[in-house]
Amino acid sequence: MRAIWKYIWKRVLYVIPTLVGLSILIFILSRVLPGDPALMAAGPNAPKWVVEQIRHQLRLDKPLWEQYYYWLVDLFHGDLGYSTYTKRSVTADVIEYLPASLQLIFMAALFEIGGALALGIIAGRYAYRLPDNIVRVIAYIGISVPSFVWGLLFQLVFASLIPLFPTHGMYSYGTVPPPRVTGFSLIDALIAGQFDTFVDILWHMVLPAFALSLGAMAQDARIIRAGMVENTEKEHVSLVRAYGIPERVIFSKYILKPSLVPAVTVMGMDIASLLGNAFMVELIFQWPGFSRYGINVMLNKDINGIVAVVLVIGILFAIANIIVDVVVAYLDPRIGRRSQ
């Protein structure tokens, strides 16, 4: 256990300079590229002095290094700057919108893992037979069809043809949102004891989470399948089979478990695709989350908002990758040992 903590600590230390570099990169880009954020923030009819006031408020009248320095100082006080789009602190926006996105991504990840395991195991078990071929076709479609196309397809199908799932927002109309405690509406609904709200939110999450998960799910299913086929053919599997070990144990211990390692290894990429595609999916399904906020700050050239969106996603991505590596180390002890 201590080795794992040491490993995590090492990874965190490594990732911090990268994140600092990322913040510098996006900070400079947001200030240097053409366009006047203050003018945009002031709105179309504002007089010049209001523009100047906003410029001052955003510290755009100071040299770049000084802007960054104060931004860092503010960051240590938990302040990500003033959002010209929502007209309040970006920190408040992050707190407000991030949980909804995390909730959605978490559900998409569950779908992804469940679906990938199911499809991968079926295909691996019946390798080179009909189920395998069906899964292969599904997997290729899953990889090739962009998540926003899935989103629109679901909108088309479920908005009018089969009105089974809601296609918009987080709550049905008339549902009273639970009082905000954690910000995660599912958890808040449980805390407030509003179980029908809980179910309602889950119901609203099905389509966006599914649209979000399909690409990664297909990718993982293929990898699990390939691993299973490879492991089935390995010598030690025939060997343990000859020992008369039950087929069930052989399957779970010698075929499935080692096949999961490569699948988990690419989870980092999957998370990247979930975090990225959430931008389109939240837009399509009007999900009140952080990615939709991200699109809005981008379209309104809210520089503090943009910097925060990139940085927060960078941090999430780093955390996710560290978790993935720990899981891999747990599943495959060789890697854990190597890291020491």
Binding site: V15, P17, T18, L19, G21, L22, L25, I26, L29, S30, L33, P34, G35, R136, Y140, I141, I143, S144, V145, P146, F148, V149, L152, L153, Q155, L156, A159, S160, L161, A272, S273, L275, G276, N277, F279, M280, L283, I284, G294, I295, M298, L299, K301, I303, I306, V309, V310, I313, G314, F317, A318
Partner: protein, 291 residues
């Protein structure tokens, strides 16, 4: 120049016939090849293939707007009365051009930086290159590309630049890993002993070993770059109308769902078609090299 020479030599060494045999054994790879070729042909010869080539430019015919698919208009017409099929065929041009421009910028840059970083792994230059590459892949590529595009004026050109900015580190990483592992092999030592320059070793001794991996990655990346470009356009931060760009067409047509589904759904399928083609092709090439 030396890259071209390397390519020639490499082609000799890889036993192209055997590779093709491996490749052609898999029907999926052949389908991938067929799809990819078909999109390239449609893109190149769009003005001759599209039934209404003028519909890709400034054209309105409101009397024939929003017609469902028919024999005259296989994919129907959009809200301007333009033939969706013709615009989709032209759309392949912009998708493939995006991929071509991005990859031709990114591959040489990424490869050279990766070779240098891998070769000078212990020196500061190698470390600096890899730390910078880390920064660019610290965020999902789409997120950073979206941010950069939003800070610039949205256009197809800026979208290409933004995607290129995000993409080179992947090649750097690939080459870094290959170089690091190959560096210790005896033929590199041999070259060093004979007094070959570092340049020679990097490009003539090490690089050929990476050609297969690079080629596979390039083919697979065509699909990814097209996907990324389409996503940018879908959000409104990529190519701008009236350019017949597939992502833009999907986004504009999405307003008319579900009544006029064909305006957005056919371009959406077209995007999936290109990506599918290059994915199958890329996997085929990969298997051919590994098998």
């Amino acid at each position: 120049m030396s890259a071209m020479l390397a390519l020639k030599e490499w082609l000799k060494t890889i036993e192209i016939k055997k590779k093709w045999y491996n490749f052609s054994r898999s029907p999926l790879s052949l389908i991938g090849l067929a799809i990819s070729l078909s999109t390239i042909i449609m893109a190149v010869f769009a003005p001759w293939i599209a039934p209404y080539p003028q519909h890709a430019g400034f054209f309105t015919d409101f009397a024939h707007a929003k017609q469902p698919p028919s024999w005259q208009h296989w994919f129907g017409t959009d809200e301007f009365g333009r033939d969706v099929l013709s615009r989709t065929i032209f759309g392949f041009r912009y998708s493939l051009m995006m991929a071509a421009v991005v990859l031709s910028l990114v591959v040489p840059t990424g490869v050279i930086l990766g070779l240098i970083a891998g070769y000078y792994r212990e020196r500061w230059i190698g470390k600096v290159i890899m730390r910078i590459a880390d920064i660019f892949i610290a965020v999902p590529p789409l997120v950073l590309a979206l941010s950069v595009c939003s800070l610039l004026t949205p256009s197809a050109f800026h979208a290409m630049m933004a995607v290129s900015l995000m993409w080179w580190p992947w090649y750097t990483r690939l080459l870094y890993n290959i170089t690091s592992s190959v560096k210790e092999e005896y033929f590199v030592y041999a070259a060093k002993v004979t007094g070959a320059s570092s340049f020679h070793i990097m490009f003539k001794e090490i690089f050929p070993n990476a050609m297969g991996a690079v080629l596979t990655k390039v083919t697979l990346d065509v699909g990814w770059v097209i996907l990324l470009g389409a996503s940018l356009s879908f959000v409104g931060l990529g190519a701008q109308p009236p350019t017949p760009d597939l992502g833009t067409m999907v986004a504009d047509g999405a307003k008319f769902l579900p009544d006029y589904w064909w305006i957005s759904m056919f371009p959406a399928l077209a995007i999936s078609y290109v990506i599918l083609g290059f994915n199958l092709l890329g996997d085929g090439i990969k298997d051919a090299f590994e098998g």
